[in-house]
């Protein structure tokens, strides 16, 4: 008997079909519809044509297609979308995924290799997805003597902190998750969490190599936070504000990298150290301490830490763009939205369709996002390149760079900024 | 390209015939110095081009080694080899000594051989198979003597670190390079 289903009966088959249909209907009514309702009630629903968009009205867009665009637009401007998708987590995760792919291909080309090649039709573009699936399907092994609650929460905290950092980055005018007046201070505060999380996870693993790696990470991050903060003071002095959006707006004429190149260099080097990128990847130096504080992580816990570190990479690159490269500022290259679509509608042969609610986004937003993304990608490129060129340095060299050289340079940068301010070149009421 | 069959020439293999040429001069001088100093305590086993072999008793090896280091300028040991001779009930330990500092000696390798008594039921470090360690004279023998100790059960008295090196810590069989330790299936 070599048939595929030896015990096939039509009756059983029909019964299984009806069973499935029954369970789908039951689950949908008991779980699905209430869930949708709850989500719709929690989202701030907009006012459309003078009436509040109730969940009932939102569902009627299936029968009133002209409501679709306004509903989408209202979702687009909701806080949930901002946090989850566009300037927040989703956008950052997409860029981080792109970064991983670009890093692997770039490094491969530098090292006369091919890099990821087979997964996906084009140049192994789905390799990351395959790796993610592999990580998810792997067993999570926890050391027997580990402090389990902390060991479990540390990677989640790591991703959460990185996402909180991402939420402070203004991508386009008005497009920022949390537009704080103390934005830069919030950035410093969030950066301060990373060493704590690292040492907690390293210590909770109760293993020697993660412990050494965690201690190294602690030393490295703490000692490089000081030049990092000091190098940004120049920007704050010149703009007189801590709000990141206002800092970007103040760079409409000149980017701060023109006036504060030393600060930019110090910030860039400190970022490399904060991110544990080569040549500062001592906490993960595999030939000395296996994988540093990541040694005992396995499966998706490791994947979460990697996701968090690449989110962090994006956030730091974006911070560099915001502070020194003028954020979203750039010549307007996105064409304006064709006005006749709004006034006359879209002509498709004999039919003319009037679409209410257009345009969904503004020209400034698209243009700002484009410039911001381009600049961020360029900065990420410069963060990735040293990996193919430099060996790892030693912890004492690293600390002496941080404490002796970078802090001194950061102070020089502050004096330059003060000089520019008091000479009346820049700052409130300055020449430029 | 020539065919490989035709390129192989047919020659008889024979052991080296002991040719009665006169011994190489430099090496002869070296061995004469040792003989002049120690007389019948040492036995010059052979003098070949670049190679001298000196057999000494284990009581005299420290003196001879010091003389070789101080007067003949050999400064390091290249290897320490233990050879088991069950028929003689002895284990021979051969030190191959060379010199980096003396350019005249750069071609030379002096074999200093001594023999320790061998027991049929060895109990390494607790039986009579003992030799004085040369570590104080040639520092470089440290790891070689450790290897010799575990492989042949020759305990080197005066060696600071007589532990196992290559074998597992819980090795409880005979020292494996002795002739009565047989490989399975051979």
């Amino acid at each position: 008997m070599s048939v595929i289903a030896p015990k096939f009966r039509l009756g059983y088959f029909l019964k299984s079909l009806t069973d499935n249909i029954f369970w789908i209907i039951v689950l949908l009514t008991l779980v699905g519809i209430p869930a949708i309702m709850i989500v719709l009630f929690f989202i701030d629903l907009p006012v459309l044509d003078g009436t509040l968009l109730t969940p009932f009205l939102a569902f009627t867009m299936m029968f009133h297609p002209e409501l679709a665009v306004p509903v989408v637009k209202s979702l687009l401007y909701s806080d949930f979308f901002r946090i989850a998708a566009f300037p927040g987590f989703g956008f950052a995760a997409l860029l981080a995924a792109g970064t991983i792919f670009a890093e692997r291909k770039l490094l491969a080309k530098l090292q006369l290799r091919v890099g990821p090649f087979y997964c996906g039709k084009f140049e192994g573009i789905l390799q990351l997805m395959a790796d993610g699936l592999k990580l998810i399907s792997k067993e999570i092994i926890i050391p027997a003597k580990a402090d389990k609650p902390i060991f479990w929460t540390a990677p989640i905290l790591f991703v959460a902190t990185a996402a909180a950092f991402v939420s402070l980055i203004p991508v386009a005018p008005g497009w920022v998750v949390a537009d704080l007046d103390v934005g830069l201070l919030a950035v410093f505060a969030i950066i301060g969490f990373f060493p704590i999380i690292t040492i907690l996870s390293a210590w909770s693993a109760n293993s020697k190599f993660p412990f050494i790696g965690g201690i190294r990470a602690l030393h490295q991050m703490v000692s490089f936070e000081i030049p990092l903060i000091l190098s940004l003071l120049g920007v704050v002095i010149l703009t007189g504000t801590l709000n990141l959006s206002e800092i970007v707006e103040s760079q409409s004429n000149y980017w701060f990298i023109v006036f504060l190149p030393i600060g930019a260099i110090v910030f860039f080097i400190s970022v490399l150290a904060e991110l544990e990128r080569i040549p500062f990847d001592l906490p993960e130096a595999e030939s000395e301490i296996v994988a540093g504080w990541l040694t005992e992580f396995s499966g998706m816990i490791y994947g979460l830490v990697q996701l968090g570190s690449y989110l962090k990479l994006y956030a730091f690159a974006a911070l560099f763009v915001v502070l020194f490269l003028g954020g979203w500022q750039g010549p307007m290259i996105v064409p304006p939205f064709p006005a006749e679509i709004i006034t006359h509608g879209i002509e498709a042969g004999p039919i003319t369709v009037q679409v209410p609610g257009l345009p969904i986004t503004t020209q400034e937003m698209l243009n700002g996002t484009l410039w911001f993304t381009l600049k961020t990608v360029a900065v990420i490129f410069f963060i990735l390149i040293p990996r193919g060129v430099f060996p790892r340095i030693r912890i004492d060299m690293l600390l002496s760079i941080g404490w002796n050289k970078l802090i001194a340079l950061a102070f020089i940068n502050i004096f330059i900024a003060l000089g520019l301010l008091y000479a009346g070149v820049l700052g409130p009421g300055g020449l430029l | 390209m020539s065919d490989s069959d035709t390129s192989i020439q047919e020659t008889e293999t024979k052991p080296v015939v002991e040719n009665q040429q006169e011994l190489p001069k430099f090496e002869k001088d070296q061995s004469d110095k040792i003989t002049a100093k120690f007389g019948s305590k040492t036995e010059i086993a052979f003098v070949k081009p670049d190679r001298i072999r000196v057999n000494v008793k284990k009581e005299d090896i420290l003196d001879v080694a010091s003389f070789i280091r101080d007067e003949l300028n050999y400064d390091h040991a290249e290897s320490v080899t233990g050879v088991d001779f069950p028929a003689d009930k002895e284990i021979e330990v051969v030190y191959h000594l060379g010199s980096y500092t003396d350019p005249q000696l750069s071609r030379q390798v002096l074999s200093l051989a001594t023999r320790a008594p061998r027991e049929d039921n060895p109990n390494p470090s607790n039986d009579s198979t003992k030799l004085p360690s040369l570590r104080d004279i040639f520092y470089s023998v440290e790891f070689h003597e450790r290897e010799c100790f575990e492989m042949l059960g020759v305990f080197f008295e005066g060696h600071p670190d007589n532990r196992r090196l290559l074998l597992p810590e819980d090795w409880a069989d005979l020292p494996p390079l002795r002739k009565d330790f047989a490989i399975k299936g051979r």
Binding site: V389 | S7, Y100, S106, S140, H144, R164
Partner: protein
């Protein structure tokens, strides 16, 4: 209560301040060996190398097989340098059996052993690169090594375990057109080697990191009996190829590279300079080699040596490599001892790592040109 321990094991004392790290055998920064390192903060207090994880008893095995069948297994300790590790054995057996090697075979041996120095040293260099976190330096030599491997495959038929040297010559003659291909690839390899200097040896971070770390003075290098690149990096001009030329090295112009600082940087640079020198040697050998002639002496089955012993040395990628063969008129050797450079340089490890920082451990360890498998034999 005291637990019963197997003989030879002892419980270690636990100190509040000192942390004991087992670097290896499952550690990306060790080979097939273990370094028991005790650290006080970031400083190494003591280091106890524990080799033996890949001990295969080659010397014992050699006592059971005849002179010819010993060849394939004696090369296993360093499969990347298999011609060189067979070289002293073959020289010794030739002296024991009284074989005369033809002039062409001697040149072929020189070419093969210098090519093997390439394959070994490039492999070593790749690992040195990744030990220092320089991933490009891992990929480049590992890729360029394929050229040397291809040449050896053409020559011997196998990529790594060649079994090419036999007592009385080499196993087979050069393939057609080998000289041209070899010359072309050697010229290319030389160009690539010079590119390594740009990205690795002249890299300021590498220089800052490895200079003045693990310094082995000239006196200590001699006292500890080190050999090969470690010795020459410490300023001792000693290379078996020039000091005691075997085969046709006395007819070739071999330059010995001697650096004088004896730190990790010099120790890592000497093999690279040796590879550049190997290019010259191969070119000279290709030029001077007799264009035809036999490459192998035919042996009778089960040849017997006399009642004799020999000690022969060659210069391998890791230093002087000696073979001590005792013969007792039997088809099998009575005792074969390989005195390998890795084992001789092992003694430096506790000496150099003591007092170093933990971050210097891979740099010092791998700059010793130590091949764990060869040391264990």
């Amino acid at each position: 209560m005291t637990a019963r321990l197997p003989p030879g094991l002892q419980l270690e004392k636990v100190d509040d301040r000192i942390m004991t790290l087992n670097v290896g055998p499952q550690h990306p920064g060790s080979g097939h060996m273990r370094l028991i390192i005790q650290v006080d903060g970031d400083r190494i207090v003591s280091c106890d190398p524990d080799p033996g994880y890949v001990h295969r008893g080659e010397e014992k095995m050699a006592e059971y097989r005849n002179y010819i069948t010993n060849i394939p297994h004696l090369e296993r300790p360093v499969i990347h340098d298999s011609c060189n590790i067979l070289y002293p054995y073959c020289l010794g057996v030739e002296e024991l059996l009284g074989l005369e090697v033809s002039e062409r075979a001697k040149y072929v041996r020189v070419i093969a052993s210098e090519l093997n120095r390439f394959t070994y040293t490039l492999y070593w260099l790749a690992i040195y690169g990744i030990f220092l976190g320089h991933s490009t330096m891992f990929m480049w030599p590992a890729g360029d090594r394929e050229l040397a491997i291809d040449l050896l495959e053409k020559l011997t038929g196998a990529r790594v375990t060649h079994s090419y040297f036999v007592p009385g010559g080499v196993r087979n003659d050069l393939p057609a057109n080998f000289e041209d291909v070899c010359l072309r690839q050697i010229n290319y390899l030389e160009k690539r080697l010079k590119a390594y200097a740009d990205i690795f040896y002249d890299n300021p971070i590498l220089i800052a990191r490895t200079e003045k770390t693990g310094v082995l003075s000239r006196e200590d290098a001699i006292r500890l009996g080190t050999t090969g690149t470690v010795l020459r990096a410490s300023g001792v001009d000693y290379d078996v190829r020039t000091k005691e030329p075997y085969d046709v090295y006395d007819e070739l112009d071999v330059h010995t590279n001697v650096l004088k600082n004896g730190d990790s940087y010099d120790r890592s640079k000497t093999p690279w300079l040796d590879m550049l020198e190997s290019c010259n040697i191969i070119r000279q050998a290709l030029e001077k080699m007799p264009k035809s002639g036999s490459v192998r002496v035919k042996l009778k089955p089960n040849p017997k040596g006399g009642n004799d012993e020999v000690y022969k040395r060659v210069e391998s990628g890791r230093g002087s490599l000696g073979a001590y063969i005792v013969s007792r008129s039997k088809p099998e050797p009575y005792r074969v001892k390989l005195s390998v450079g890795s084992f001789r340089n092992l003694i430096c490890m506790p000496y150099l790592l003591k007092g170093e920082k933990l971050g210097n451990m891979p740099a010092v360890y791998w700059s010793l040109n130590y091949w764990p498998v060869e040391a264990d034999r």
